[in-house]
Amino acid sequence: MTNGWVLDLVERVGAAARGATVSVALGSADPGDPGRQAETVATWCRLTGNELVEVRDGVATVRRGRSPDPLAELDPGQLPGTRLWMYTNFDCNLACDYCCARSSPRAARRELGRDRVRQLAAEAVDAGVTELILTGGEPFLLPDIGELVAACTTLLPTTLLTNGMLFRGRRLDALRGMDRTRLAVQVSLDSATSEAHDRHRGRGSWDRAVVGIRTARAEGFRVKVAATLPPDQNHELGPFHDFLDTLGIARDDQVIRALAHQGFAEHGLELTVESLIPEVTVTADGVYWHPVSANDPDQLVTRELFPLGAAITEVRRRFAEQRARATAAAQWFPCA
């Protein structure tokens, strides 16, 4: 084997514009060692400052020069693993018709549990996570929600997502016991009036969510409001922001997100591994690419929750690889 294709590689890549990709046929591989060709291409790329995109079916695809590190291109706050999402449970007192997590009163609890939350929070610190986010399901259905939150807030700033409807009795006591200096409470509210919110989340849910927002604010918590907005409600954005202003929610804490076609939702944005910047998300079943897809088997990264650092590394690796592929695909897409 003389690897005469090395000459083709030098000529074709040498003539390519920086950033462009070139595919070169490698000829028949040595049947005794099919990986050797790929190793040789990788070595050549390393020696010459080019980037191996892939070797598949006897064809090497190489990018002229090196593509920039996709992780370095991200806003520091978007670096996968900066925030860690934890699905504390999947059962919920509501049955929203667009719930991406398929949560409802009939959903199995699938709780993470105190021990795993505590271990995840501890390993998160070591892995460089700077914020923890607890979501569900409805976390206040858990009798030990206070302990779960405390396990997190003692180590890192934490946000707790809730529908805000259960702040009574022992659950209100649990809320009152949480660390106001380390915890933000994020309540789901979709509209300035009850109609649109209740249409998806159930009658009376808007009134109770607004009461919950006022309660959490009165208890001294920073309250964020997150709205899920179907496209037909886009025109209501202005009045909605005005309404949240009257509740005392800071503009930076008014989170508007588009409806995702995930879980129960029949419509919405198509969110895939390719289109989502990952947000490392842990459920009782495994580590997922993003919280909006925590039931989507296509977005399961690993079933191993621990060590958390390894899962975060894997998410980053896949993201970098996927960006490299996307860039390569964009480069070689023919016009005619």
């Binding site: 003389t2 005469g4 000459l7 040498g14 920086r18 020696l47």
Partner: protein, 272 residues
Amino acid sequence: MTTTEPLLVGAVAYTANVVPIWEGIRDYFQDSGAEMDFVLFSNYGRQVDALMAGTIDIAWNTNLAWARTVAQTGGACRALAMRDTDTVFRTMFVARSGAGWGGLEDLRGKRLALGSQDSAQAAILPVHFLASAGLDGDAVELERINSDVGKHGDTGRSELDALRAVLEERADAAAIGINTWEAIGRDELMPGAFEVFWESPTYSHCNFTALPELPVERVQPWVEHLLAMDWDNEAHRPILEMEGLRQWVLPQLDGYASLFEAIHEQKIPSHW
């Protein structure tokens, strides 16, 4: 041209990557007090003509383009700087692995593939090295592969074709530049393909060439800023990597002696 206008540097567009290289160099000189812009030519003949006509202030010349500028200016032109890699350029004579040749004498009666006729490293100097070894005239059968003529071998294509000629047994050996030898991974990535049987002495390759009319007070700050490009500076390194050097250095003119001899021996015409 007033002193407030940027220096105009000419280069030959032998690949699409020449554009980002020179945009990067131009940007590096921005706000330096020695600003420059660039003009790209399709071949070195046009570039030397433009330098002689005063259309450009400085030409990024190959060794052959430098030699021709020397000839056309009666030796009055100046070399301003070159890459560190330009000071140690070499031509590698390669044969099929296992040939067991020990030097140029083993080429007697054999076929040697050469690159483009205007490539100093792959055509002009190899013939000179053969002559210096007593291999004149018909002693070696020369297989000339003239591709991309006008670019003085910059594309490397003719040298790759020369190597293909060896692999396909249309030639017994090939003469290529050290840069092409390194681009194919020397003798490591193509097992059983090539081995070097003779390596030339080092010689100088490209340089920035200016005419004596360009005032020293204009060119000196430009050269000083060029030499200040730093491999360890992340903003500078991509340009240096693309252009194939680690450090800009002052020219080594004695490294052109072998080429001037070759041009004289081979009666290389003054224009291509």
